[in-house]
C-alpha cells in the first residue's frame, strides 16, 4: 500500500492503495465513480476508457502508480444531465444506447476524437472507435451520433470536455 494522489475530474484524491491497482478499480471502488465500466480486464473492449491528459486510455490495465501527476477525466467529468457534453447530447439525439453499458467508453473515445478532428470522416470514426465493443450492436448509431456532434456547437464551441 502507498499514498497515491490521483487527479480525477479536476479533484485531487489521496488514496492509500496498492500502486499496481489498475486505475479502473481505483476510480470505481475507491473513489466511487461508477460510470467507468469493467468489460474485459485486458484492454480489448474499451468499456473502461477514460481520458489521461485528454487522450483516451484503457483504465483496466493502467496501474495507478503510472498516472500520478496526470489529469484523469471520466464520463462524469465531461458533462452532466443538466449540462451535457455535445457528444452526450448527440448520443441522446440519435438514441444510441440500448443497454448502455459500453457507452461511457464509446463517448470518451468519441469526445477525444472530435477534439482532435472536429469534422471526422467515416474512416476517422472507424479508426477511433473500432477498439470498442458494443454487444447490443449500436455501431451505426454511434457513427451517426459522432457526425451529429461534429455538426453541433457547444456553447463555447469546445469539444474537449475537460472538467
Amino acid at each position: 500500500m502507498a499514498a497515491i494522489t490521483l487527479d480525477i475530474n479536476g479533484k485531487k484524491h489521496d488514496l492509500d492503495i496498492d500502486p499496481k491497482m489498475p486505475l479502473l478499480w481505483a476510480i470505481r471502488d475507491v473513489v466511487g465513480l461508477k460510470g467507468t465500466k469493467f468489460g474485459c480486464g485486458m484492454a480489448q473492449c474499451g468499456a473502461c476508457t477514460v481520458h489521461m491528459n485528454g487522450h483516451p486510455t484503457r483504465s483496466c490495465v493502467l496501474p495507478v502508480q503510472s498516472v500520478v501527476g496526470s489529469k484523469i477525466t471520466t464520463i462524469e467529468g465531461i458533462g452532466t444531465e443538466e449540462k451535457l457534453h455535445p457528444v452526450q447530447q448527440a448520443w441522446i439525439d440519435e438514441q444510441v444506447p440500448q443497454c448502455g453499458y459500453c457507452q461511457s467508453g464509446q463517448i470518451m473515445a468519441a469526445a477525444a476524437l472530435l477534439k482532435d478532428k472536429p469534422t471526422p470522416t467515416d474512416a476517422d470514426i472507424t479508426s477511433a472507435m473500432q477498439g470498442h465493443i458494443c454487444r447490443c450492436g449500436t455501431y451505426d448509431r454511434i457513427r451517426k451520433a459522432i457526425h451529429t456532434a461534429a455538426k453541433s456547437k457547444s456553447p463555447k464551441g469546445e469539444m474537449s470536455g475537460g472538467k
Binding site: R28, K37, G41, E76, I92, Q98, I133, R135
Partner: protein
C-alpha cells in the same frame, strides 16, 4: 395491509393512494384489474400494483420486466400511460421486485409487450374510467360530458378540470369497471409513435446504476476460481501466497449450482475487488478432472450429432407422406447444417450481491432478467420461503438470455452464508466466456425433393443436439423437443410443401447450455432458410419467387414483397456481387432480410443488410429499429466469428481477443423497414436475428457459388 404499505414505502409513496393492480396474466385466464386501495383480498393475493396515483398528483407506473437494453423500462409503462391518458414525462417509472403471484416478470422470449398488451392496457383504461367517474360525481355532471387528458379530468361543456391527484382518493373507493373500453389504435397518442427513451440521459452520463455498480454497507468482494473443465473436483487449495495480499480475507471451497448439476469451485473473499483478483492469480488449486479431458469436447459432441444425422429421428410432425414423395422426387437433395456453441458475452459480466442474514432471510441485488424466476431458484437453493427473500433488480448491462440463469446469484448466496456478510461477486470476462452456459451447438439433417415440373414437393427438417428443456428443466429425452420443433412447424413457417416433416434427435452434453438471443431460431433459421435456397436453385427458381409460390399467408407475402422492393431484389448486380434472402417467424413476428456481398480476394465483404419486420402493433418504432439493428450485428457475429469450442475439456477461448465479436470497422450499411400490419403484437428483441446468417450464406452462394452449411465461416476464405 402490510404488503401494500411496504410496497408503497419502497417506492417512497404514502399509503393514501389510488392503486390498481392486475390479478393474472396466466394464459387462458382473463386478467382482472383489481383495486388495491380498498380490496383486502387483493392484498392477500399479493397482486402487483401497476398504477399508483397519490393525492399530491404523483403518478407511479410499475414496469414488471427488467431492462437489459431492449427498452422494457419505457415500453410497458407506455401501454399503461396510453390508456390512462398521461404522458410519460408526467409519471415516475419503478421496477417491480419479483414478489408475489403477479404474473411472469421475466424479460425473455420477446414477450414483454406481447404478454402485457391487453391486461396492462385494461388496467390503464379502468383507472381512467374510475377517475372520470369520481370527477363527474364531484361536479354532479354526467360522465359522458367528461374526458381525460394529460392526467386531468376535464368537463367538456364548462372547461373546468380536476387533476388525477385531486380525485384519486374518491376514485379509489369506486367499483372497478368490468369491461373498461380500450382505445382504438387510430386514437393512440403514445403507442406506435416515435418517442425518445427517457432512460437514455442517465445511460450517457455514467449515472445509470447497473448491477455491477451497486454497493451495500458492510459488503465484501468475491471472485470465483472456476474449474477450467467446468465439472472438475477440488483436490487441494494452496492459498499461502494469496493470504499474504493485503485485503484478502479468505479462500474457500464453494460451489457453482447449475440446473443440471452443481460443480465445485473456489472463491476468494477480499476487502476490495482488485485484492481478490490479485489473489486469484496466485491461489493454486489442484483439480481432479476425471475423464473430462476426453468427454467434454465439442468435437465428441458433434461426432455424436453426425452419427444421429445418418439415422431417422423422433417424428414431431408430418404433413403428407414424406418418404413416398421424397422417394418419387425427380431431384433429391440431402445436406447437413451445423451451428456452433456461442457465449452471450454481455458487456456487463455476471455479478450479484447476496446477503443471507442471521434471521434466515435473504436479500439480493442483481442484474437479472427474471426476478420471479430468481425468487423460485433462491427459495429452492436456500430452502427458505419466498416471503423471506427480497430481490432488488438492477439495470442489466446486456444479457441476451444469460442473466436468466442464476448460477452466479446462487454462488453469491453460498459465499454470504459462509462469511455472514453481504458478498458482492463479480465474474471476470474469462469466467463468462469459459464457463457457459452457451447457446447450444446444433446440427440439422435436411432432405428435400423437387418434382419433374420443378415444384418443391418434399421437405424434411431434422434438428439434432442438446435440449435446453432437458438440461435446464429436466424434460424427458424421449420426446421431440417442442421448443426446437414447434417453431419449425409448417403452421408457423407457412411453407405449403405437400410432404413436410419435422423430426428430432436428442444428443446430450455436459457443456452447460441455455437460451441465447432467439434461442433455437438462431440455429434452425439457418438450416431452414439455407436449405430452402438450395431447393429453389435445384428447382431452377428465383429464391424469392420460390418462397412466394409456396406461401399463401398474406403477412409472410407482404414481408417478402416489401423486402424485394426495399432491397431492389430484381436489380442487375455488378460482377462479383450477390444477394441472398431469408425469412423466419419467431416469437410472433415475421422477419426477413436481404444481404448483399461482394467478392474480395478469396472471400467476400458484406456490403449491405436490409431487414423487414412485421411485429404487429409495436410501441416505439425507433426501438423496433434499434433492436433489429442489434440483431443484424449479433446475427453476423454469430455467422462469421469463432464459436465456442471445447478441446481437451476446456474452452479454447477465454476473452475478447479470442472470442471475437463484430466491431465498427466490419459494420455494413443497414436498412430496416417495418411492415404496418396492425396485427396482435409480436416480439421485437429477437425475431430480427434468425434470418441474418442464412441470408448471408445465400448471398455468398449467389456471389461465389460456394454453399455454406456450417457456421461459423471466415468471410476472408469462406472456409
Amino acid at each position: 395491509m402490510s404488503n401494500r404499505r411496504t410496497f408503497l414505502k419502497t417506492l417512497g409513496l404514502s399509503s393514501a393512494s389510488f392503486v390498481l393492480g392486475v390479478s393474472s396474466f396466466a394464459k387462458g385466464n382473463a386478467a382482472a384489474v383489481v383495486n388495491m386501495s380498498t380490496d383486502p383480498l387483493s392484498l392477500a393475493l399479493e397482486i402487483n400494483p401497476f398504477i399508483v396515483i397519490q393525492p399530491t398528483g404523483q403518478i407511479t407506473l410499475i414496469n414488471p420486466r427488467p431492462d437489459m437494453g431492449q427498452g422494457s423500462t419505457q415500453a410497458v409503462p407506455s401501454l399503461l400511460a396510453e390508456e390512462l391518458e398521461v404522458s410519460l414525462d408526467q409519471v415516475t417509472i419503478a421496477q417491480s421486485d419479483g414478489k408475489g403471484k403477479y404474473g411472469n416478470q421475466t424479460s425473455g422470449g420477446s414477450s414483454s409487450v406481447r404478454a402485457l398488451w391487453t391486461p396492462i392496457r385494461q388496467a390503464g383504461a379502468a383507472a381512467k374510467e374510475m377517475l372520470i367517474k369520481a370527477a363527474a360525481q364531484r361536479w354532479s355532471v354526467p360522465e359522458s360530458e367528461c374526458y381525460a387528458e394529460k392526467a386531468k379530468v376535464i368537463h367538456r361543456p364548462s372547461g373546468k378540470s380536476l387533476t388525477y391527484g385531486e380525485v384519486a382518493d374518491d376514485a379509489s373507493k369506486l367499483e372497478i369497471p368490468k369491461n373498461p373500453k380500450l382505445k382504438e389504435s387510430k386514437d393512440f397518442k403514445i403507442i406506435g409513435k416515435y418517442a425518445p427513451r427517457l432512460d437514455v440521459p442517465a445511460r450517457v452520463t455514467g449515472k445509470a446504476v447497473y448491477g455491477i455498480d451497486v454497493e451495500v454497507p458492510g459488503m465484501v468482494y468475491a471472485v470465483m476460481l472456476h474449474s477450467p473443465m467446468i465439472h472438475g473436483k477440488v483436490v487441494s487449495i494452496d492459498d499461502a501466497e494469496a493470504l499474504k495480499i493485503k485485503g484478502v480475507q479468505k479462500v474457500l471451497k464453494c460451489e457453482r449450482p447449475m440446473p443440471h448439476r452443481t460443480s465445485e469451485a473456489v472463491a476468494i473473499i477480499a476487502d476490495n475487488y482488485w485484492a481478490a483478483l490479485s489473489a486469484k492469480k496466485v491461489v493454486k488449486v489442484q483439480w481432479d478432472n476425471g475423464t473430462l479431458g476426453q468427454t467434454l469436447t465439442t468435437a465428441a459432441y458433434f461426432k455424436k450429432c453426425a452419427e444421429a444425422a445418418t439415422k431417422e429421428g423422433l417424428k414431431a410432425e408430418e404433413e403428407g407422406d414424406f418418404a413416398a414423395t421424397f422417394g418419387a422426387a425427380a431431384k433429391k437433395l440431402e445436406a447437413v447444417y451445423e451451428t456452433p456453441f456461442l457465449a452471450h458475452a454481455p458487456m456487463e459480466p455476471e455479478n450479484a450481491i447476496a446477503h443471507i442474514k442471521d434471521d434466515g432471510t435473504a436479500e439480493v441485488w442483481a442484474p437479472i432478467q427474471g426476478p420471479d424466476w430468481a425468487l423460485r431458484d433462491l427459495a429452492g437453493y436456500l430452502k427458505i420461503k419466498p416471503e423471506q427473500i427480497k430481490i432488488n433488480v438492477a439495470l442489466l448491462g446486456g444479457a441476451f438470455g444469460r442473466k436468466a440463469y442464476h448460477d452466479f446469484l446462487l454462488e453469491a448466496c453460498f459465499l454470504s452464508k459462509d462469511v455472514k456478510k453481504p458478498v458482492k461477486l463479480v465474474w471476470t470476462r474469462e469466467d463468462d466466456i469459459t464457463q457457459g452456459p452457451y447457446r447450444p451447438g446444433m446440427m440439422a439433417r435436411m432432405q428435400g425433393g423437387v418434382d419433374a415440373k420443378g415444384n418443391i414437393v418434399a421437405y424434411h427438417h431434422h434438428p439434432i443436439g442438446e435440449s435446453i428443456q432437458f438440461q435446464v428443466f429436466k424434460a424427458p429425452s424421449n420426446k421431440p423437443d417442442d421448443w426446437v420443433c414447434g417453431e419449425l412447424s409448417q403452421k408457423e413457417q407457412k411453407y405449403n410443401i405437400p410432404a413436410f416433416k419435422i423430426s428430432y434427435t436428442h444428443v446430450p452434453t455436459e457443456i452447460p447450455i441455455v437460451w441465447w438471443r432467439s434461442v433455437y431460431a438462431s440455429n434452425f433459421g439457418f438450416s431452414q432458410e439455407g436449405f430452402f435456397d438450395e431447393l429453389a436453385h435445384a428447382a431452377n427458381k428465383d429464391p424469392l419467387k420460390a418462397r412466394l409460390e409456396l406461401m399463401s399467408d398474406a403477412r409472410f407475402k407482404k414481408v417478402l414483397e416489401t423486402l424485394a422492393e426495399k432491397a431492389n431484389w430484381g436489380e442487375k448486380l455488378p460482377a462479383g456481387q450477390g444477394k441472398g434472402i431469408a425469412i423466419f417467424k419467431s416469437f410472433g413476428s415475421i422477419s426477413a432480410c436481404c444481404v448483399t456481398v461482394a467478392k474480395q480476394g478469396t472471400g467476400v465483404k458484406i456490403e449491405k443488410v436490409v431487414s423487414v419486420i412485421d411485429c404487429g402493433h409495436y410501441v416505439n418504432p425507433d426501438n423496433v429499429k434499434a433492436q433489429t439493428e442489434g440483431n443484424i450485428v449479433m446475427g453476423i457475429t454469430a455467422a462469421v466469428k469463432k464459436g465456442i469450442t471445447f478441446t481437451n475439456g476446456q474452452s479454447d477461448h477465454t476473452n475478447f481477443h479470442q472470442y471475437q465479436v463484430m466491431r465498427m470497422n466490419e459494420m455494413p450499411k443497414v436498412e430496416i423497414h417495418i411492415v404496418e400490419s396492425g396485427a396482435e403484437p409480436g416480439g421485437v428483441g429477437e425475431p430480427g436475428l434468425p434470418p441474418i446468417a442464412p441470408a448471408l450464406a445465400n448471398a455468398v452462394f449467389a456471389a461465389t457459388g460456394k454453399r455454406i452449411r456450417r457456421l461459423p465461416f471466415d468471410l476472408n476464405t469462406l472456409a
